[in-house]
Amino acid sequence: MIRKITTIACMLLIAAVSVNCSNDDDNNDIKNETKAMYVLEDQMGRPAINTVFVATEDKDDFNTTIPSEQGAKYASKFKTNLEALSPAFNESTDTNALGQDATAFTTLLATDVLNVSLDGKTSFYDGSDGTLLTGRNLTDDVITTELLLIFGGEDFDENPTLSDDHVDANDKEFLTEFPYLASPW
């Protein structure tokens, strides 16, 4: 199915380019004829969203649904999955520690983009000062943050055995300068 859509998209693009060229007798557009097309295969914004919230049969589709169309297509599915997954969301009045009920939380997550501030501290979540969703640092313990938001309930104190994997840092120190990532093993 996806392949079919891709093929159709390619054909349309080829058609558009061809029309362009035939309308242009001075051949300035010849570059367009040879311009390679690259077609979407995988994407991500926030960590672990496709893995946790998307059903197996939808995973490839989620990867090839552009973010501006993900919310309408996936928010209600995410909500169903969240409520099935977490006892912290088994009452309709339940919220996570951000005060989001299941609808608000999954509406945010279904559009899988990373929100990043250009004006200061960047972090997925920093409990020490409450910085939230202003980027993603290498050191951010994003899985524990997500487990807490999924299982931790209103005060991060529900389901404690499931809301922290107790791996809090990388196995190698990150660099303070470019390229920031640690050297390979």
Binding site: A36, V39, E41, T51, V167, F178
Partner: protein, 221 residues
């Protein structure tokens, strides 16, 4: 709150998501284990507060033994998408495309088209950096076209920066464990990924405010 309810919930999600989890490693059947499989995406303020850093990693769980032969796929573009006006449609892109022993990095610049199909940006937006060979420590210098002066790029193997007790999570959703261990064990310890790191002046991506960003891999047709 009851254990039985928790286990029921976890059993359900095991059916929903399959018994795999990671940041985005091996997330879906079509890309799992392939050369376009994104493992992670980061965006953070650089060592200079004037810059933002994007990290896009692909092809995870590369062992040290397999690292010398690991390489970027010449037909896979890693594209960083930047929405500056809040509609979740890319206003700017950065495109990393392997070119021989180099990684060519185009942008940030307005894309030729938005959505699922991309063509390469014009060469006037090109930076280029040698792909760092496994086993060497020197970080290669980036060569910039004048329009993208100030863009710094790295491409090559790095330690996978992702950390999680994935093995225990798998046991929990498989029903053979009921809680995480403390301390947990990092399943991604001592494994490498292929990384593309691009540091850009914030002035090139909107300057101020909030951006929405995501990474895509796209295959040449």
């Amino acid at each position: 709150m009851k254990t039985s309810k928790i286990l029921l919930g976890l059993a359900t999600i095991a059916l929903v998501s399959g018994a795999i989890i990671a940041a985005d490693h091996i997330d879906a059947p079509d890309v799992k284990g392939g050369t376009s499989d994104i493992t992670d995406f980061y965006a953070f303020e650089g060592a200079s507060a004037s810059n933002l850093v994007f990290v896009a990693n692909v092809q995870g769980l590369i062992s040290p033994e397999n690292s010398a032969s690991a390489k970027f796929d010449k037909d896979v573009m890693v594209e960083i998408n930047i929405d500056t006006d809040g509609d979740n449609i890319e206003d700017l892109v950065i495109q990393a495309v392997p070119n021989g022993n180099n990684m060519d990095v185009y942008g940030p610049a307005v894309p030729n088209e938005t959505g699922g199909v991309s063509t390469m940006l014009d060469a006037k937006f090109k930076s280029s950096v040698a792909v760092t060979t496994y086993g060497t420590t020197q970080i290669a210098a980036t060569v910039n076209a004048s329009l993208v002066s100030g863009v710094k790029a790295f491409a090559g193997l790095r330690d996978d920066p992702f950390f999680m007790d994935f093995a225990k999570y798998t046991e929990i959703i498989g029903g053979t464990a009921t809680s995480f261990d403390n301390p947990g064990a990092d399943t991604f310890a001592e494994s490498n990924v292929l990384s593309v790191v691009v540091e850009v002046p914030k002035t090139m991506i909107g300057g101020t405010g909030t951006i929405n960003t995501w990474v895509t891999t796209k295959r040449k047709q």
